[in-house]
Amino acid sequence: MFRIVKYVLYDILQNRMVIGYTLFLLAVSFGLFNLSGEATKGMVSLLNIILIVTPLVSIIFSTIHFYNATEFIELLAAQPIRRSVLIWSEFLGLAGALTLAVSIGIGIPVILFAPNATGITLMLVAVALSVSFVAIALLASVLTRDKARGIGVALLLWFYFALLYDALVLFLMFSFADYPLEKAMLAFIALNPIDLGRVLVLLQMDISALMGYTGALFREFLGTGWGIAFAALVLSAWALIPILLAVRVFRKKDL
């Protein structure tokens, strides 16, 4: 299995797109930290970029990579290698490469400009989002045979998580405005990795004072050891559940 992961990883790391992505993240992070002069402000701007860009790049890149590797996967499938090993290797290779890109692209500027709890949270959120969206991309890819349609589904999924979901939550908030939704909001936030990541980072910043009662509730919950464990669990579930489903589908898939 590790040999296959190594092949996938090498293949991806040689890809110009990953190198470009790393450089892009580096440039954006350095730019934002230098432009805003103040680490906190740079962090807020960087957060906005991370929440949009890392999921988008992860999901699109993984989908394209998977379709481009169809022949490689078919070849390996003909060998005495279990299919679950194959798809796990793809996942680990992709997740590893993108984690590396994010760690360099965001990690280095964060360590240089804002080596504090907020910075580390931001960094971990970026990694978690990358890994989750690789898993989601693989699930989408194994479910659709056609490459164009697969990329379309991936884009739609990104669109849903990054934009539509918040609109839906807003809509629900309006519809059920008469009910106490504080605890429900916690569930809504957990149902979207991007939202969970955003709230985790914002709670680290002093902006959380604005969030009033709900913010206090969230901080009380997510600020404790159990809360952090819960957030970590939910974020890992967002990577594990899609990839486990993908493994299941891929095992029975007619290649």
Binding site: V44, V169, L170, M173, F188, I207, A209, L210, Y213, T214
Partner: protein, 411 residues
């Protein structure tokens, strides 16, 4: 200032004629304050030399001057009030007063003045006292250049730094107040002036006004207080050139205005407060030429406010510029600088050609559903705000600045 000069002039002949000076301290005629006070005649000066005095409560019942040399320490050992003044025309200067007692039935203070006029309290240090300087039913008093430092306790067990109750024409200037419940507390205080004070890190308010009319406070700094500054149930209060900053917390304000009318807020600086100014039941208030910098909300105007004018202020870097809880708008916004303004100025007269609506859709959502703040900085919220700017539907349409200026206002 006028009154100060007046009563200084009245007092001075006394002083010059004061034949008796009593010296207290090691190596002096006496080392007992009580004894010296008993012998002193009205108009005398009592000098306390450097040293450590634990004489319990010191009551002053005649018009004398009590002056410390080299900050003698008067320690209450946590079981009494330290100086109680029951006479007019008393001067207290240059003392270090420490460790008053604490009772739930009586407000024990470092220096308490009861029903006496023209008392001056100048350049003292009041450390770890429940109440610092406490004036009750006094007129024409001066509290100047004192350092009041409390030890942070829970709110119900601590007192105010400078506490004035039912006073008129008081001057409170250049004091430094920290670690108390309220830095400065005014209740039923009229025609008074608070200036150049520095009130920070108090448990509740930096300055707390209740039922105090015709007062003027200016050039003060209120930083890092639990809930900022509160001005309530008052009218004709002038607040000018103060700094309100870093009052950060889920129910903290730079300036809280509640049931206050006919007041003028001019040239203040509101920086990094959860809410710069929170107005409730405020009428006929002018907010002019203030700076609102990086607050959560710059202005929270409840629908119960009417006939207020917000003019020529700078709004920069606030998360929300203005928020309100109703659609009825009875206040005027005019000629402010808004950093969010995206309009144009075709004739280059410095005034934007399209009105600016400072209440964003998201601010309305959050006002109605506070838990909506969980979507803060979401991309969707940003998009919706943009859409709302073009076609206002939920935001109060009449709440707008018709003549937003293009550049920050400098004066």
């Amino acid at each position: 200032m006028r009154y100060f000069l007046l009563f200084t002039h009245l007092l001075f002949p006394h002083w010059l004629a004061a034949t008796n000076g009593w010296h207290i301290g090691p190596g002096q005629t006496t080392s007992n304050i009580h004894q010296a006070l008993e012998q002193a005649q009205p108009g005398d000066t009592v000098w306390i030399h450097e040293g450590f005095y634990t004489e319990g409560n010191i009551a002053i019942n005649k018009p004398i001057a009590l002056i410390g040399i080299g900050f003698p320490v008067l320690d209450g050992q946590h079981n009494c009030e330290i100086i109680t003044i029951n006479a007019s025309d008393v001067l207290i200067q240059g003392l270090e007063i420490r460790n008053s007692g604490q009772l739930s039935t009586i407000d024990l203070a470092g220096i308490k003045v009861l029903s006496s006029d023209r008392v001056r309290i100048i350049n003292n240090r009041v450390l770890d006292c429940t109440f610092g300087i406490y004036l009750s039913n006094t007129n024409d008093c001066l509290i100047s250049r004192n350092e009041v430092q409390g030890v942070i306790k829970e709110e119900q067990n601590s007192g105010n730094g400078i506490h004035l109750w039912k006073c008129a024409r008081a001057v409170v200037e250049e004091n430094h107040l920290t670690g108390q419940r309220d830095g400065i507390y005014f209740e039923f205080v009229t025609d008074s002036e608070i200036k150049y004070n520095h009130s920070e890190q108090n448990l509740r308010y930096g300055l707390h006004f209740m039922f105090s009319h015709n007062d003027h406070y200016h050039h003060n700094r209120f930083h890092h207080n639990g809930a900022g500054v509160a001005v309530m149930y008052s009218r004709q209060v002038k607040m000018t050139e103060n700094e309100f900053g870093f009052n950060w917390g889920s129910s903290a304000y730079g300036l809280l205005l509640k049931d206050i009318s006919d007041s003028h807020i001019w040239k203040n600086r509101f920086e990094r407060n959860s809410a710069g100014v929170y107005m409730e039941g405020a009428s006929r208030i002018t907010l002019e030429q203030n700076i609102f910098l990086e607050n959560g909300w710059a202005l929270r105007v409840q629908a119960s406010c009417d006939a207020n004018t917000v003019r020529q202020n700078n709004f920069m870097g606030n998360s929300f510029d203005v928020s309100t809880n109703g659609s009825l708008v009875l206040n005027t916004f005019d000629s402010n600088y808004w950093d969010r303004y995206e309009g144009y100025d075709l004739n280059h007269d410095g005034i934007g050609d399209v009105p600016f609506r400072p209440v964003s859709l998201y601010a309305v959502v959050v006002e109605r559903m506070p838990y909506g703040l969980m979507l803060m900085r979401s991309f969707m919220v940003y998009l919706l705000d943009k859409a709302e700017k073009i076609i206002p539907s939920l935001t109060p349409e009449m709440l707008k600045d018709d003549a937003p200026v293009m550049q920050p206002i400098l004066w």
